[in-house]
Amino acid sequence: MSGVKPDPEVKREALRELTHVKPEDDDSLMDSSQQSIPDGQEPKHEDDGLDDLEDEDDDEDDEDDGEDEEESLRVRKKSRANRFLDVEAEVDNDEDEEEDDEEVAQFQREFVDDQQEGVDEALGADRLHRKLDRTRERLDEQDAQELADQFKQRYGRSASTRYMGSTTNVSQRLLLPSVDDPLIWGIRVRNGKEKEIVKTLYARMLNKKGTSEVYSIFQRDNFIGYVYIEARRLDAVNRIIEGLPGIYASNKVLVPIEEYPDLLRPGKSDEIQLQPGAYVRVKVGKYKGDLGIVDNLAENDLEARIKLIPRLDYGRSSTQSVFESADGEKKKRGPFYNSKFRPPQRLFSEIEATQYDSEHLSTAKRDRGYYIYRNEEYIHGFLYKDVKISQLETKEIKPTLQEITLFNSGDGSEGIDLQSIATSIKDASEKAIQFQTDDRVEIVSGEQSKMKGKVVAATDAKIIRVLLEGNQESGVNNTIVEVPVSGLRKVFLTGDHVTVIHGVHSEESGLIVKIEDNQVTLVSDQTKKDITVFPNYLMKSIDSSTTSSQIGRFELHQMVQLNSMTVGLIIKAEKEVFTVLCTDGRVLQVEPRSIQNVLDINRMTEKTTDKNGLEIKVGDVVKESTGERRQGNILHIYRSFLFLKSKDVSENTGIFVVSSTDVQTISNKGSIVSAFKTPDLNKMNPDRLMPPPAAPIAAARFSGRDITLNQHVSVRKGPYKGKKGIIKDANGEVARVEMHNPAKITPINKSDLLFELRPGTFIAYEQFLESYRVRRSGFGGAPITIGGGTSHGGYSTPGYGGGSRRSGSSFTPAHGGEQGGKTPAWSSGGKTPAWSSAGGKTPGWGSNMGNGGKTPSWSSNGGKTPAWGSGGKTPAWSSGGKTPAWSSGGKTPAWSSGGKTPAWGSSGGKTPARGSSGGKTPAWGSSGGKTPAWGSSSSGWDTIKREE
């Protein structure tokens, strides 16, 4: 209730001291106070002070009935000293407090009687003098007394309530207002103007004549739009309100007496007394919703000067200028601002103001940072504006840390005054703060300030039972104290994993990295960014909080559809806003409801191909082949868009989107796909797995030196495509190739190489390998084939003609003869792939070995090249069957000539056949040659010898 009570001031205080009112007097007191005292009473006092006594004697007879004998005796005794009392006090006594007056009057009557009985003339004169003095004094006091009287008449009733405390047996019912009490009118006034009007009316009540019958004026917060006037008569009410704007005088309601108690029942006012430094929010206008700080309050308590962060565009927006020019005159309301389209909050910049809108910048006291721009004051970049308190939101202001940071940005060194925030948001925050059992807390206010403890129970929302422990003073530990929520602060340790439960960052979780007085900095799990919050906004989070990233139906790192065109990945999930990275690379902040649905993508089908056509799937590591060459793990694949997550990228929590055509596979996820969902027996069963790996295993069985060593190769794939080189080293499937042109050694996959068989003839690795293998198996089988005619049957190619039909031995000698008894060379040669390879060019030979006509045989030969080289025959080979080389070898002159077939022709008349292989004669020669390779297959030699 904010009704105005005229303060009785000092005089009333004095009265209270001297008043000895007994409870029994209450009723009489109330009655008397309610009587309106006629104006004539005062002059009577002035006329004759002695008469006064007589009047009061009468009064006493009427009113003092209830007084018992003993009481009057006591009063009498006390009264003896009366003549020596301080005059002023005495006067107060009789004039102001009627019951006291009565006592005094009674005393005086008796006293006078006494005097009359036993006092002589001299004493009587003295007494008269004293009485005169007293009367004079009383006259001097008259004005004050008059005031006091008036107060008494108005508020005498309150005396009864004053004694309520001491009277236990007076029924409350008796104290209720009755028909004798003044009436209360409720008068309709303009909404929001109630307090203003109460203040004006109060001023009138004190000053305007004829309003003394108005006892009080008040308004109630619960009844908006009404002012209540307590008066005996309606005309007094009308008189006091007449001509006052904002009052709808025709709309008066007489409050029924039974409703008085309800009307006057004290309710807890949620009004917050604004104080400089308090936080407020503007309710209307351009700064609607903005946080402000009260700078000071106007005299009338109706306006406040608040400090705001300006929203200025320095005349750049058309709306502003249009508004001003259209009106021509200064417009008080200013341009209409939509809260959506208004300039962002930014400190006033003198530079911009002079640059864009200098005509409106009127005053500039640069030294003090004071500017007037568009008739508004800016100090140190902040806007200082007078705003009606009714246009301010004053309750439950919860400034965000960002806003406070903005406010502090101008002041620089001051820092955040957490204390002031704390007071302004105390009520609001108390609701949000939850204390749980076992929370570590510190008491921040009261006697036990600085004590630490543990919450044992939070029985009430407001009161927490705290078990003190871990304090320096040993005496206090293990005691339980009850502390209001506002006096507690949660205590955390660096490294604790916590969840924010309140404020902008609510729902975020992270590990604490720093703790200052009343601020905790934590690194968010989601964003890895720092968050600074009040400790009371935190809660220790339970480990393994897997649901922390799930908010509503959406989850972090989920593909969502925003509309038919836009698809994105949630990269940050907060309570009310999701940050979505779209396929086109934009980052959008969207509300949950603007997300259409979750894209249901089957992980198994999320596959695409990279730039090189290789399959990539979720979990693979790929790298951009252009641009920043970022590398990342594939989180999701949407059509050709890959969402990658990288630890090295800091923006968007390390997630970026690339096109699948721009990436290269770095590594495939060694995903152990749970095979049991779709049992693939071929993959599952180790026994079934056996056959396929047979080939690689066989390949791996090549022992000794790697067959590819020192081969001349050409690269057929990758960045070095087309370059030539020599294999210097090899390990498994990777060969280290010494390039010819950029003279360096590069590891290249063997399958990406072409092996040079002869100058200009290249074969793939697989063929190279196969030819080698075949030759090896040829070695193994040599004894057998030689033993049987079949092997020679192999020789029975058309080229050989019937010669093959005969036993190998019969044939060989012929050869041997030609070769100077080197028959074994022949026979062995016949058995080897080398032959077949040589025969590769002769259809007969090829058909014979089953892989005839296959270059691989050559390559297998190539595998032997080193051997040949050692034999000094290589040049001949390289020369590509140029007989001169052979002749230079001097081993087979016949051969060299034989290269031209005559030798052959002579041997078996098979010239045509040989002729067909004419270019290949060196092959023969090679077989004829005593190469170490041949020699190594000693077993073959032995058997051949045996045959011989």
Partner: protein, 172 residues
């Protein structure tokens, strides 16, 4: 901290595996399944011990018409779990203005700028970006000694934050 821990794993096997190679296969599968994985409870399973003599136990055929059998494979493994307060050596894997990440084997530890000595300043102009003080540099690839000050264990991952803001911590 490293521990030797007795663990068990349930493996379900398709009937086509039932045969002489079964035990070997189960062992193989165990190794591929658990080695190098992380559980929030025990930390990282670094290595399964005595892998050749693992007791695969007797399998039980799971009721139903699938024919699968379930084996409880008991094994011992070396596990590593990071603890609060543990001092470890790490290799810096990335540096940004909020701090840097360092790898302690399989674990990635974040060292916030608040936990880096104040004289070490983030220098983005350095290539690669680094935290630099008068005599020390922390950049990608640097080796640092850190103290783990907090860990967060999820079901299958552990994340941790560390500090070098103490004596004897920092670049090695």
């Amino acid at each position: 901290m490293f521990f030797i821990k007795d663990l068990a794993l349930n493996l379900t096997l398709h009937p086509s595996y039932f045969g002489p190679q079964m035990n070997q296969y189960l062992r193989q599968k165990l190794l591929t399944d658990v080695e190098g994985t992380c559980t929030g409870q025990f930390g990282y399973i670094i290595c399964v011990l005595d892998s050749m003599s693992i007791d695969v136990g007797k399998g039980k055929v799971i009721p139903g018409n699938s024919g699968y059998a379930e084996f409880e494979v008991k094994y011992r493994a070396v596990v590593w779990k990071p603890f609060k307060g543990e001092v470890v050596d790490a290799v810096v894997s990335s540096v940004n203005n909020m701090g840097f990440f360092a790898d302690v084997g399989p674990l990635s530890v974040f060292i916030s700028k608040h936990l880096i000595p104040n004289d070490m300043k983030y220098t983005p102009s350095h290539t690669p970006p680094a935290y630099i003080s008068d005599d020390q540099v922390i950049m990608k690839g640097s080796r640092v000694r850190i103290k783990i000050i907090g860990t967060r264990a999820d079901v299958n991952s552990i994340s941790a934050i560390g500090s070098i803001k103490e004596d004897f911590l920092g670049p090695l």
